[in-house]
Homo-oligomer: 332 residues x 2
DNA sequence: CTGTTAGCGCTTTCAC
DNA sequence: GTGAAAGCGCTAACAG
């Protein structure tokens, strides 16, 4: 096996305690012996046994992120952000995605029970009651990624959907001069989607624009849903001049319908989206959309977690919102 | 802290050794005491301390996957595949992506040195000499994802680029009746790209079609590169009737150029790609392309790794190639 | 069947 | 400054 402190101790003719001290650079070890030990360690290519240290320190230097899936547009970015911060803190990251054979709750409990990780970042589409209970009574460091429907006692970070939708709507009105703006909603159980709708409504209101009931159409965040919604909007007697889709996928659906009707974006009707997925860059004309800084979410969550980890006692719960920005394309 | 076997031992009035045995279900423990212990364990909500066990067993039940990046089209799928298999084997997965602050080699050495993981899956765009050396002298379980440029002594899995390109070309010729097929290459240092070119050439040859030098154009796997290559091809005196881009990104570039020239796909010129990235589904007309079963790569790599892990002594090195399939769109 | 004992590799009092 | 010794929670001989 690999070299241990015992090996070094033997060669340096000191005790393993001294080696331990010297290697941890702390304590009061005579300069010369410290140097000798460090030299020896280097020579022997010594690396501390992580596991042994963990056993005594009760600290694994591992955090974990649990998410519904590892693929897609957002998750990888989040992981990346977390990984970055973890690395800087000299931590490792275990990624656990719930899949058919594993569910989120199980994952958390498992990790924590086995004292495998020092903390977890949890990303869930929605917070079930079972989960809520666990979180409410939790006694381990955790931060949740998911803006709404949150548990008060648990740190969280989410994106500011309201602000994003508000500023996009405001942009359409005040920078682009649109007044007739329709909105395609996301699934109503989805709290992100709801916030986006509220942001849209608030912006209309603040600009003294009456909202039209039939310009707020249900959608389901899919391309297909966008197509359906869009064709309904464009078959109204009073058609909107701009369509704000609650996500880019549905905006892409609008593109399909609009081009199949022989209409032009943005001349005949403008389309804007939300998310800034990579597809939005490939649409012609390039989609104007709300950018969600995904990696920042990951980084923020990780930073929050380390704040708890380093500052356990007097850490106070925070709920952070990540603000969005507008990516200006040519679709309005 | 959490319950330990000592706690259980006390309550059951037996020694910790017996508890350990009972819990591990092995050995010969009297049925009644075993049942008592297991009942107690459940009552006390006992979970084994992973770290303590690791320290003595010298086995962490963690594998790691190291990749250049966590985002993008492919990596998440690979991770997912690995995760699935890992979970089934009762293992955890640590994901490490090399980023600005960390490089691959460092990661491997680090993990192994700290005896943090039992094995690693390594995915690299290319294998440097430094890495090659490490791999050649490696003494820990590792499997490399990257078909070519491989180290003989190390297990690997990669996709069969040659076969993929061959069958696509063959499909164009024999199913679709094309004879004038141009090819846009990837970067020549990229061995995947080279294999694709070879597959293309081989298919032409086997069908007795002379290849044309100026129909094989350099590209760089980017949209821009695809655009450039495509406009060069379409300004030739003798234009090809079909363009086989070595990846979907470049195929997307072709789409742009072709539509800007007012030409139609596939009537005026057919376009096919390679990779089956999600963008290819959104192109109009839908792109015909070679599907790379990414999650299968991950699964295969993981299975291979566990084969080594479980079968250490007499495992013989394998090099696996994952075959591809054709996704039929409307672009040819 | 079950208990005793000796570690795994390291950190951390407590003495000297 | 440094060593001795205990112990983290568990497993694995070795006895009985």
């Amino acid at each position: 096996m690999s070299v241990t402190i015992k090996e070094i101790a033997d060669r340096a003719h000191v005790s393993i305690a001294t080696v331990s001290r010297a290697l941890n650079n702390n304590q009061n070890v005579k300069k010369s012996t410290k140097e000798l030990i460090q030299k020896l360690a280097k020579e022997l290519n010594y690396t501390p046994n992580f596991v042994a240290r963990t056993l005594v320190k009760k600290k694994t230097n591992v955090i974990s992120i649990i998410l519904p899936e590892v693929g897609g547009e957002f998750f990888p970015e989040i992981i990346k952000g977390v990984d970055q911060i973890a690395y800087r803190n000299n931590y490792h990251l275990v990624v656990a995605s719930s899949h058919s054979e594993r569910n989120t709750v199980e994952s958390i409990l498992n990790f924590m029970a086995q004292s495998l990780v020092d903390g977890v970042i949890l990303m869930v589409p929605s917070i079930s009651n079972q989960l809520k209970e666990i979180l409410a009574t939790k006694k381990f460091p955790i931060v949740v990624i998911n803006g709404y429907n949150k548990v008060e006692s648990v740190d969280s970070v989410g994106i500011d959907n309201f602000q994003g939708a508000y500023s996009m709507t405001d942009y359409l009105i005040n920078k682009k001069g649109y007044k007739d703006i329709a909105f395609i909603r996301g699934p109503s159980i989805n709290s992100d989607a709801e916030q986006r709708k509220l942001g849209y409504l608030a912006a209309l209101k603040d600009n003294d624009i009456e909202y039209q009931d039939d310009w707020i159409i249900n959608g389901d965040f899919t391309i297909k849903g966008g197509e359906l919604a869009c064709s309904r909007l464009l078959s109204l007697i009073k058609k909107p001049k701009a369509i704000f889709a609650a996500n880019d996928m549905m905006a892409a659906g609008c593109y399909k319908v609009i081009s199949s009707l022989g209409l032009k974006i943005p001349e005949d009707v403008a389309v804007v989206g939300f998310d800034h997925i990579s597809l939005s860059e490939f649409l012609t004309p390039k989609l104007t959309t709300v950018h969600v800084p995904t990696d920042e979410i990951g980084r923020t969550a990780a930073k929050l977690l380390f704040k708890i980890l380093n500052d356990d006692e007097n850490h106070e719960v925070q709920h952070r919102k990540i603000t969005t920005g507008i990516i200006i394309g040519e679709s309005c």
